[in-house]
Symmetry: C2
Subunit: 459 residues, 2 copies
């Protein structure tokens, strides 16, 4: 609608400035040294929601980082959309690989460079600005509720508790999230699902102290060597995961479904060039799109042990550690998979060492039916602003809380993300396209318009 | 001799105080941040040698850390002993595992706790005090030369250059080193050899940046996973090292030699209890004494990659690293073994990743013939002060420079160490027994006495 276009045109510079100031707050949820910044960020989000026209805005304390809630109820008879997002960000390290400060946002070319620019400050803030546009132009077509949390990057465990305790307050017809990516602005896509996650940490202990590798080397098991052997054993020669029962509940897609997925535009040469690799890797028998969409994975996210400083130290370490996470697909259950991992790892550990396995967090996979009225509304909205219908794709990432929304609130979730895979999420030099930011703000009101028109889906 | 005993009895407290002040200097050679402390330590050693009666003492600069040289020539016709030691120490980390500051020496029970207390400040300083005793009591039986270096813990590469350039200055009949251990004060032993060392570092690179493990996980090789697979492949099911040609030059000992080795007192239950392990590990077909003495090994000294901080980060790392060292036995050549490792590692690396292999340093193994006159002199000296002849054993550690002494100076080396395997060399809470310190000072003059009496071995 012209009125939306005009309002954004008049205010687009301010919208950007507001986002940049939000990106300057280092709201790293995983690292307790940033706890105060996370709180500051929550207060800032509250202020922005109020300015945009939201009511009953509150910073809700939790056992961890707070949740910001706000709403704009114009007519109880109209459908209600619950907008979810997160204001926390991933740790910024390795710092030395950033071209500019992770929390000193800069505009270079067509992009905003900063930690959280795409994941998820730049994306949830589009919804705050869309709210402003609709309220200021008096065109809000339905009721809106906002729930912006501060623990998405560490598993949303307290959000789960909050949701269970506030079912009435959160009553809605659908959940809308912008925290994923599309193929490109030229080939818009819409996620039909997300992978689940099970994040583990393992500790392998050999001798009770670091030893001289000459005096003891050869006679005592080296926990770093044993850890490598255990990790190596978790993929077979076809890169299948060897944990017994791991694939039991994995849903196999039909030929047609797999064909549809593989019809999405994908340029392998370009993909390899962007990543700087000569060869791709993965589970035998599946395409890259399938490997990152419909197949589960097991990745080492971090490994450490022994002397890692400058020069050399001839030590036989006492301990070695690894952070290992698995991406899950329907119908794997993250708690069950975490158990399978733990039992298997403890079982295969040789008697020379002691192992400790802990679960960090996780979430189950999720699928959005493409025939859902809200999915149609999202498709129409994208068609209205991008000029072509989005390609349905399976997202490889995880938003652990989505499965819980369905379980606890009985709500389906629409994953209308405007980022790109190349945004360096969780990596140095995270970026978000200016065009993506503005296009998102332009598209969101259409979603609400079409969803209101297509009618209330639950009662 | 009584005069030696009396002099030590009168001065033993001062001897200890002097050692403690030397231990307070953090002369860590591997870490450039301690370069100034290493230099300070060299100057201190010079001062102590002069006070003990050495002449022509100088701090000799090198491309790295300096070498302290000094001598006491009483009569060119008498035999000359070249005493070698090192004033540099291993890095102290992990600091949190020390019960007291690594460079704040404390006496607890019968031990001195400090980094370098046994390796090697506490041991080379016994020779400085033995010199003082013999000069002050006018009983020095032969000529002495001292060469105390500052780079033993980082491979002694500059000492090698120094030795080649100063063959005349270093002319002697035998090299004497106290930088190893004995079985116990009740069961004194004398090393008949040392293992060599080849210290490597590997870097495995996957994608050109850290990636989101959900967006890319399953489609791109994870360098941490690949590194684990490569390391795991380097031992077979019998814990034999799989590098082609690695064992080709390994000298097999005769049945008799192996029996002699295994006759040394060894309490496996006690050994396991001390290390806190339920089971020992090692190469099939060899005893623990053989695994640490006459067999080569491959150990991971350090491994790191990805996110190793608090909490979780769902990253697929760009790089993973490991420090890997091999202990070598006669007649393996460390340069040849380093090449074999490099070629093998590069060969087995899959095309999904790029690998970089660098050599830190190394040294070849060494054996002392038990029929050598200086070995007999050392045995007699130990018998004189311990009351029983030492058991000949193969040391598992490495002093890379020893092989070079033989090659460049044509000198055999006597490894008369007074430490214990339980001294936590290279580990937190390194210690050295007070009794070991004093017993060493008491024993050393006898070595010189008997060596002088048994006569000059070369001319």
């Amino acid at each position: 609608m012209q009125v939306w276009k005009d309002y954004q045109a008049k205010n687009k510079d301010r919208f950007l400035e507001e986002l940049l100031s939000l990106l300057r707050i280092p709201s790293v949820s995983a690292d307790s040294r940033f706890a105060a910044d996370v709180k500051t960020c929550a207060e800032e989000v509250k202020k922005r929601l109020e300015e945009a026209g939201a009511e009953n805005v509150e910073v809700c304390p939790t056992a961890g980082h707070p949740i910001v809630y706000g709403e704009k109820i114009i007519n109880p008879a109209l459908p209600t959309v619950l907008v979810y997002g997160h204001y926390d960000v991933q740790p910024a390290d390795p710092l030395e690989l950033w071209d500019s400060g992770p929390f000193e946002p800069v505009i270079k070319g067509d992009n905003i460079y900063a930690r959280g620019s795409a994941d998820d400050k730049g994306q949830f803030y589009m919804h705050v600005k869309a709210l402003e546009i609709m309220t200021k132009t008096d065109t809000l077509p339905c009721n809106l509720k906002f729930m912006i949390e501060g623990e998405e990057e560490v598993g949303s465990s307290n959000l789960g508790i909050f949701v269970k305790a506030n079912k009435e307050k959160l009553k809605a017809d659908v959940v809308l999230i912008s925290d994923t990516s599309m193929i490109s602005l030229q080939d818009p896509s819409l996620d039909t699902g997300l992978r689940g996650l099970s994040y583990m940490e393992v500790e392998v202990t050999g001798p009770n102290r670091d030893l001289h590798s000459g005096v003891y080397g050869g006679a005592v098991a080296n926990p770093a060597t044993i850890l490598c052997q255990l990790i190596a054993s978790m993929h077979d020669e076809n890169n299948h995961i060897t944990i017994p029962g791991f694939y039991d509940k994995v849903q196999d897609l039909s030929k047609e479904e797999r064909k549809a997925l593989n019809d999405a535009p994908f340029d392998e040469a370009e993909y390899k060039k962007d990543l700087g690799v000569d060869e791709l890797w993965g589970e035998k028998g599946y395409s890259t799109i399938e490997r990152t969409g419909i197949r589960p994975t097991l990745e080492v996210n971090g490994i450490w042990g022994g002397y890692t400083g400058e020069g050399s130290k001839t030590v036989l370490p006492s301990k070695a550690f690894a952070k290992i996470s698995m991406r899950l697909v329907p119908n794997q259950d993250w708690i069950e998979i975490s158990e399978l991992f733990k039992n298997h790892f403890e079982k295969i550990a040789p008697k020379y060492v002691k192992v400790k396995v802990t679960t960090h967090h996780g979430g189950s996979p999720y699928v959005t039916p493409t025939d859902h009225v809200a999915f149609k509304a999202a498709s129409e909205a994208i068609k209205a602003t991008f000029g072509k219908s989005p390609i349905p794709v399976r997202g490889g990432g995880s938003i652990p809380i989505v499965a819980l929304f369905e379980k606890e609130l009985g709500l389906k979730t629409i994953l209308m993300g405007f980022g790109l895979d190349s945004d360096n999420l969780h990596s140095p030099n995270e970026k978000y396209g200016l065009a993506n930011f503005y296009k998102g703000i332009e598209t969101i009101p259409y979603f609400h318009k079409y969803f209101a028109e297509l009618g209330r889906t639950s009662a």
